[in-house]
C-alpha cells in the first residue's frame, strides 16, 4: 500500500502512540485487502464497548489509546453492557470497568450513543459518502439500504479510522466490487421479520463474496425486515452488502427454498418456549416499538418482556406515550445495551428465551449457551399476551 510522507511519519510514532497504532492497524488491513492507498471517511461507528466482550485486555488497550488519541471525524458508539441510568444487579467490578471503558471512548471524542442502530438516531450523510462501520448489521444496512459506502469493518479498524479519518481503499469501497457476481434466489415464502432474518443468516453462511445479489424478494417490505436481513447476514458471514434486483443471466446462483429455510430455522430455533421475551438485536427503533404497541392494544404480556433500544428512541417513545402504554403491558425498557452478549441475560438466570431476532438466537445459543424459541413478533404477541 502506498503511504504519503505524513502517513509514514505517523506510523513511526511522530504524531503520538495512538496515531501510530491506528496506522499499524490500517496498514495491516490494507495489505490484507490489497488496498493501494488510504482515503478519507466522514463517519466511524465503533464497536467493542461492552466489558462482557472486550474484557480487561480491551480495557487496557483503550486506556492506552486514550492517552493521546483523538477522533478526527464524527464517531458513534455501539451498546455497552447495561442501562447506565438504571443500574442492574451486577458485580461492582463489572460496573466500574464498564464505566471506565465508556470514559476512555468519551475522552477521545466519540459520541456516547450506545447504539447498534446509528442509522436510526443520527443524520444520514448524502449518498456515496465513505464511512467506516463496525457492528455488522450497520455495515450491511449502510451499504445495502442507505447508499453509504463501507467495508464490513472490525471494532479496531473503525476505531483506527476514527482516529486517522481514513480507511484503506479496497473491496466494497471500490465501485466495481459493489456489483454482485453471485446471487441468492429466494424461492421461499418470506413474510415477516423472522423470515428475513433467517434468509440473512443463510446468505451470510453460504455467500463467500462481499456483495450478493438478492432476487425474488417481495417488492413491498418494511424496514424491520431489512434490518433483520442485514443483521442475519452480518451474524453468520463475511458478506457486507446485498442488492435486491432482477436475476442476471451471468451470475452464479444459490437457491433459498423451503428446504434451506427449514434447515436454517432448525439450527437456530433450539427451544419450543422460553422464560422471558426479548426484543432488540439490533436495538429497536421507534417504528418497531410502535408496531409492538399497536399489536398489544393494551393487553398484558404473560411473560417478562425486555425491549432493548437506544436512549433517544426510548425518550421519543415516552414523549409519544408509547413507552408508558407498553410499560403497563409489562415491558421493561433497557437503553444503552442490546440482547446480544449483555450480562443481563445469562445461563445462571435463564435457560431459554423467546425472541424474533436471529442475531440474538445465534449469540444466545453459541456464547451464552441459552436455548431460544424463535417466533415472529405477531406470533409472540398472540402466544404471550392476554
Amino acid at each position: 500500500m502506498q503511504l504519503t510522507r505524513g502517513e509514514e511519519k505517523a506510523i513511526s510514532g511522530e504524531y503520538g502512540e495512538a496515531n501510530a497504532m491506528a496506522y499499524r492497524i490500517l496498514v495491516a488491513i490494507g495489505e490484507a485487502t490489497e488496498a493501494q492507498n488510504l482515503i478519507p471517511i466522514q463517519w466511524a461507528h465503533i464497536s467493542g464497548v461492552n466489558y462482557n466482550t472486550i474484557g480487561d485486555s480491551g480495557l487496557n488497550f483503550l486506556r492506552k489509546i486514550s492517552e493521546d488519541g483523538r477522533v478526527r471525524v464524527k464517531s458513534s458508539l455501539n451498546p455497552m453492557g447495561f442501562d447506565r441510568r438504571n443500574l442492574p444487579d451486577l458485580p461492582q467490578d463489572f460496573i466500574d470497568k464498564q464505566f471506565e471503558i465508556t470514559k476512555y471512548y468519551e475522552k477521545i471524542g466519540v459520541t456516547p450513543t450506545f447504539s447498534c442502530i446509528p442509522y436510526e438516531i443520527l443524520p444520514i450523510p448524502e449518498a456515496s459518502t465513505q464511512v467506516s462501520f463496525a457492528e455488522s448489521n450497520a455495515a450491511v444496512l449502510a451499504n445495502s439500504h442507505l447508499n453509504l459506502i463501507t467495508n464490513k469493518e472490525s471494532a479496531l479498524s473503525a476505531l483506527a479510522s476514527a482516529i486517522v479519518g481514513k480507511a484503506p481503499y479496497s473491496d466494497l469501497r471500490i465501485e466495481q466490487y459493489r456489483d454482485p457476481t453471485a446471487e441468492i434466489v429466494n424461492e421461499s415464502r418470506i413474510e415477516n421479520e423472522l423470515d428475513y432474518g433467517l434468509l440473512g443468516y443463510f446468505i451470510g453462511k453460504t455467500m463467500k463474496k462481499s456483495c450478493t445479489g438478492l432476487c425474488n424478494i417481495p417488492k413491498k417490505t418494511d424496514f424491520w425486515n431489512i434490518k433483520s436481513l442485514s443483521a442475519g447476514i452480518g451474524t453468520s458471514g463475511s458478506c457486507g452488502m446485498f442488492k435486491i434486483k432482477e436475476s442476471s443471466k451471468n451470475n452464479e446462483k444459490i437457491s433459498f427454498g423451503d428446504k434451506e429455510f427449514n434447515k436454517t430455522k432448525d439450527e437456530l430455533n433450539t427451544s419450543e418456549d422460553g422464560q422471558i421475551i426479548t426484543f432488540g438485536s439490533p436495538q429497536l427503533g421507534l417504528g418497531e416499538i410502535g408496531k409492538i404497541s399497536t399489536l398489544m392494544e393494551g393487553k398484558k404480556f404473560t411473560k417478562p418482556c425486555k425491549i432493548f433500544c437506544p436512549r433517544s428512541v426510548f425518550n421519543k417513545s415516552e414523549e409519544l406515550g408509547i413507552a408508558s402504554m407498553l410499560q403497563k403491558s409489562g415491558v421493561e425498557f433497557i437503553c444503552d445495551a442490546c440482547t446480544c452478549l449483555t450480562p443481563l441475560i445469562n445461563k445462571e438466570n435463564y435457560d431459554s428465551i423467546v425472541t424474533n431476532s436471529v442475531k440474538a438466537a445465534y449469540y444466545m445459543k453459541t456464547s451464552n449457551k441459552i436455548s431460544v424459541a424463535l417466533k415472529d413478533v405477531k406470533t409472540i404477541v398472540k402466544d404471550y399476551s392476554n
Binding site: 499499524r24 490484507a32 461492552n50 469493518e153 471494532a155 463475511s238
Partner: protein, 140 residues
Amino acid sequence: MRIKCKKIVGGITSGKLLFSDQPINFLAMLNLKTGQITDTNHKLNNLTLKNNILVFPNAIGSSVGAYTIFSLKNNNTAPNGIICTNSVDITTASGCAISNIPLVCIEKNNYEILKNHYGERGTHSKEVILDAENENISFD
C-alpha cells in the same frame, strides 16, 4: 519443503498446524481462558488454538472478534500464527496487528500442498516454521 505466502502481519514463529475448512466467529466461539473452540456445530469443537498455527479460510460475524484475538494473546491462549486460505478479513488482520501475531495468506495451490501433506482437519504432530517476514512456510 517450503511454500510461499503473503505477509499481512510480520514475525517469525513455529507450531503445529491446526486446520479448519470452516470460518470462525471469534467472539462467539472461543473460550478465552483455554483458547478452545466451543461451538458444537464447528469441526474444531474442543480443540485449542493455543500454541498452534491456525489454518482457516477467514473470520465471520462479529466485528468485536478483533478484541477476542487480542484477549487470547493477553491470556497466553492465542495461536502462534495464523494462515488464511481464503481472503484475509478485516477482523483477523486488525486483531493480529495489535497482538503481534504473524499473519499470512496462501494461494489455493499452496493450500492444496499443505492439505495433501497434513490432511484437512485437526492438529498434526510435526511443527512448521511460519516466516511472515520472508513470506514462506517451511515443513518436513
